[in-house]
């Protein structure tokens, strides 16, 4: 979303002086006890002031789902849209007013099931907005049906004998769609989330962040395999550092047939390991995307970023160009353009 260059004009509260309270609405939060969404909300509300974002210039747009309620809890401008369409609404807002800071909150169902197409098109257009996808691998609000990210064999009310469709990998899909900023964090990892939000805020263009979110009611512990052992099951991505985990005793190398593989790091020799470069090649990012539990530790942090002109900039630039080249449109002239003819009071023509 667009960094807010002018902190003080037309009455926006000055940045820096803001606190978490300034981003907290008066609405009672209504998620289930223990829902991962609480942690994410607290982190976002707490971190916004540090970014110096003005609430008056911030818009949250969400779809339908437990995640969708996020919008009501932020004391900013907000639209709680219909199911799956938040990226489209946000595209309209961002293109209409590029000065705003626009955040889209969606879920694995809202964003990847009904809303999958809008998601990929918002990403390919590189619209200037930040998409937070709360991935709990389940439909929470509608009481527990499996989602496009649910593991094969998930038993849910709509699949009592287990789901049979192969799950989507949100990161692969985002990269496949041409996303220019891709990151991942766990709901409870406030520190990492903060880092990512800061980078995301600086990034001009479409940001996609997968939040590993726990749904204690319908899918409890689905991410425990990653969260219970941060050292062993997560790779903390650091720019320019090799891909290591388990206290540096293991790492990721590019194996034969272009398959990622886990190798032991002996005597601190990381020469065989892949080195993280968030500005690296799309292919490298695809490799990171393929590191998923249970076979691999999961990369956490900024996986990929790339600078590209944003849709809203280009769209508004085209208008400016047109005005400069053709001059500001004159409605009268337009109506009289092409062939016209005069009829005099006497019926004469010329």
């Amino acid at each position: 979303m667009s960094a807010n260059d002018s902190a003080n004009d037309d009455g926006g509260t000055a940045a820096g002086t803001l606190t978490k309270k300034d981003f907290t609405s008066d609405q009672e939060v209504r998620w289930c006890p223990g829902c991962g969404d609480y942690a994410i909300l607290a982190t976002v509300q707490g971190f916004m002031p540090e970014l110096g974002i003005e609430p008056d210039r911030t818009v949250f747009v969400s779809g339908i789902g437990c995640s969708g309620r996020f919008t009501y809890y932020m004391d900013t401008y907000g639209v709680h849209g219909i199911h799956g369409r938040a990226p489209a609404i946000a595209t309209g807002i961002a293109t209409a007013n590029p000065d705003l800071s626009i955040w889209v909150v969606t879920g694995d169902g809202d964003g990847l099931s009904i809303g999958g197409n809008h998601l990929i098109h918002a990403l390919r257009r590189n619209v200037n907005l930040t998409i937070l996808m709360f991935n709990n691998q389940i439909y929470g609000l509608t009481k527990g049906q499996y989602s496009p990210t649910s593991a094969l064999g998930t038993r849910a009310p709509s699949t009592p004998t287990g789901s049979i469709d192969h799950p989507l990998n949100p990161i692969s899909l985002a990269l496949g769609a041409g996303a220019t900023f891709v990151a991942r964090a766990a709901d409870t990892d406030a520190k990492l989330m903060g880092k990512i939000l800061e980078e995301a805020y600086k990034h001009k263009g479409a940001v996609f962040i997968e939040m590993l979110q726990n749904c204690p009611v319908f899918n409890d512990g689905v991410w425990e395999g990653v969260k219970d052992d941060p050292k062993g099951k997560q790779i903390k991505l650091e720019q320019g550092k090799p891909l290591v985990f388990a206290d540096g005793t293991k790492g990721i190398a590019l194996g034969a047939g272009m398959k990622p593989e886990i190798v032991d790091v002996v005597g601190g020799d990381t020469s065989k390991l892949l080195v993280h470069d968030e500005h690296g090649s799309q292919l490298y990012a695809h490799l990171l995307a393929q590191l998923v539990q249970p076979d691999f530790p999961m990369p956490m942090g900024v996986l990929y970023r790339q600078e590209k002109p944003t849709y809203d900039q280009l769209a508004n630039a085209q208008i400016q160009d047109a005005i400069e080249k053709q001059g500001a449109g004159d409605l009268g002239k337009l109506l009289y353009s092409g062939m016209t003819w005069e009829v005099g009071a006497d019926g004469t023509r010329h």
Binding site: D56, A88, I89, T91, I93, A315
Partner: protein, 613 residues
């Protein structure tokens, strides 16, 4: 030899040829010359359904029809008096519509065995009696054209291209069109590539002189200029007028126009037209589908633009859920539905009026929305402004109904003075509206809520599709609140009745028994048929609805004041259901669902029938 000149009050000409023959251009040129000459006119292009059906086949025929007259006329006409057929396929496709005894001008060179077969003619229609009773003129247009331009050294193929201009020249002579209009245009158009210019000028003159000099044509025709209100005129199509109306609404409201759409015939024209107007600050966005387009427009409106989306039937279906959201968000938004023949994919290039009930009821829940219909190509301009005015003033999505016929056809337009157009006040919220607080759903005397756009200091608020508490807009499951909000949304739309004009009734003899009530694009046909009926000495009244939701305040009284009410529609009786249900009058339907506009003679006959019962 001097030739006779025969005077006619009105003439309908149809140019028909292969998609590649440039019939639309020929028609446009003839139209301009006719406009300048001062006849009243109405035109209708008729494109083939396929992009480019095989050359020479009936499916590849492209036609352009124009009616022009010395009196004012209201439609492009039912039955051509003159058909120009550039090849056998064109003759085959169009002959059925030509008036018995009408004039057929055929491109003789094109009637080869091969072309006859392609057209599906077993025998040559010129010799098997098919054309008996018509006035047939065979003109070797291709070869004359080629000869006329030969010294310019074009290839034969290039040379042949000008045959449509030859035809234009010939017909221009026949009806005494001013040649300079066309010649000036050619001059402008081809200023650069002079060779093609020369060729076209030569072809045009050859055509004109062919008529003038050869024995073939004994008479030419004169259609005197039509008396019209003084002022500056132009020719305008419905698509153009609608696009310009949206631009005008933006200008008169100080809002930026944001048009988001997904291409679909026949609505794409709007997207194309508006995409060319970027220097008016117009933002256009081609979305991934109609749902996205509607949501983008809604988002733009939330951000303070005039969000507009346009489509045709199939796209309207898809936008339904988003329109419901717009209804409950109570944001200004305009939705244009250029209706085409359904159901489903139907006949994409053909016209119909079958989306009225969809516009009224095509959303789940109680989801009321104003609906405005354009009644003529030029009126599309006013309809667009009116829709935007209601949308902004009442913070509501508004549907504009146009159709294929309106979008494609054109008519002369007395260009309005921009300053005379209505001023639309966005009246953005600028501060708290309840003491220190800002309540997004606190309503004004029109029941409209404040429009507070992101970036405004201190007006932060969250709105969504869940039911909202009156005033605060907070989520509410309270039964009485839901009942109240449902009633308020309905009352707001119904309240517009005080802000729109009553329906005008045209009842010259003021005591007709029968009222013919229509809506939208049937206006011309209805008024014209009524005239004919009156010319036959019978009394009939007509009225055309522009506002379909809410209905004008006086409509009930109007329909009740006639013994009989006839409602002609290009559907199975959609307005009729609404009028009957609302006012309990025994209105009867005259329906036509052929993908074609309403024809005068059909309706005239029906009116007479109904009156004689």
């Amino acid at each position: 030899m001097t030739k006779q000149v025969e005077e006619r009050q009105r003439v309908v000409i149809r140019f028909a040829g292969d998609s590649g023959d440039g019939m639309q251009l020929t028609g446009d040129r003839f139209t301009n010359a006719t406009a300048v000459f001062g006849n009243d006119l109405a035109t209708l292009p008729d494109f083939p359904a396929e992009i480019r059906a095989p050359a020479g086949t009936v499916h590849g025929v492209s036609a352009f029809q124009i009616q022009f007259a010395s009196t004012d006329i209201l439609t492009p006409g039912d039955h051509p008096n003159v058909l120009i057929a550039m090849n056998p396929a064109a003759l085959r496709a169009e002959l059925g519509q030509v008036e018995k005894g009408g004039i057929l001008i055929l491109n003789e060179d094109a009637f080869t065995q091969r072309n006859l077969e392609k057209a599906g003619y077993a025998a040559d229609p010129r010799h098997d009696g098919t054309l008996d009773g018509y006035q047939v003129y065979e003109v070797p247009m291709t070869s004359i054209t080629v000869r006329a331009v030969e010294e310019l050294g074009l290839t034969r193929k290039e040379a042949e291209r000008s045959k449509n201009i030859f035809a234009l020249g010939l017909v221009s002579w026949m009806f005494g069109r001013p040649t300079e209009v066309t010649l000036n245009w050619l001059h402008k158009k081809f200023a650069d590539k002079s060779q093609v210019y020369e060729a076209n000028v030569a072809a045009f003159k050859a055509g004109y002189n062919f008529g003038e000099t050869t024995e073939l044509f004994g008479t030419s025709f004169e259609v005197k200029p039509a008396p019209v209100r003084p002022g500056t005129y132009r020719n305008v199509s419905g698509a153009q007028a609608l696009a310009w109306g949206l631009v005008a609404a933006a200008e008169r409201s100080g809002l930026r126009l944001f048009y988001a759409s997904y291409p679909i015939t026949p609505a794409s024209e709007l997207l194309h037209e508006l995409s060319r107007l970027k220097n008016f600050g117009v933002m256009t966005l081609q979305a991934e589908d109609e749902i996205a387009a509607a949501n983008v427009a809604l988002g733009a409106s939330f951000a303070g633009n005039l969000g507009v989306t346009g489509t045709s039937g199939p796209g309207m279906d898809l936008k339904a859920e988003t329109l419901g959201l717009a209804v409950t968000l109570e944001l200004p938004m305009v939705i244009v539905d250029v209706q085409r023949a359904g159901p489903s994919t139907g006949m994409p290039t053909k016209t119909e009026q079958s989306d009225l009930l969809l516009a009224m009821f095509g959303r789940h829940g109680e989801s009321p929305m104003p609906v405005v219909a354009a009644r003529s190509p030029a009126h599309c301009f006013d309809a667009a402004i009116e829709a935007a005015r209601l949308a902004v003033t009442y913070r509501t999505p508004v549907i504009v109904l146009s159709d294929t016929f309106l979008g494609n056809s054109s008519e002369p337009w007395l260009i309005p003075d921009v300053d005379s157009l209505p001023v639309i006040d966005p009246a953005f919220a600028t501060g708290p509206n309840a003491g220190q607080e800002f309540l997004p759903y606190l309503r004004d005397e029109r029941l409209a809520r404040p429009w507070a756009i992101p970036g405004s200091a201190g007006l932060r608020h969250r709105i969504g599709g869940l039911e909202k508490e009156e005033g605060t807009g907070d989520i509410s499951y309270d039964p009485d609140n839901h009942a109240r909000m449902t009633a308020l949304r309905a009352a707001k739309v119904q309240g517009i009745v005080d802000d729109i004009l009553p329906v005008e009734v045209d009842d010259p003899d003021s005591n007709a028994e029968l009222l013919v009530l229509g809506w939208g694009s049937t206006d011309g046909a209805i008024r014209a048929s009524a005239r004919r009926v009156r010319e036959r000495g019978m009394k009939v009244a007509t009225a055309q609805l522009v506002h379909l939701n809410p209905f004008p305040a006086n409509l009930g009284e109007v329909v009740r004041s006639y013994r009989k009410v006839l409602i002609p529609e290009l559907n199975l009786g959609q307005l009729a259901l609404l009028v009957r249900g609302r006012y309990l009058v025994d209105a009867r339907s005259y329906t036509k669902v052929q993908g074609l506009p309403l024809h005068l003679d059909e309706l005239e006959a029906e009116i007479v029938k109904v009156m004689q019962e």
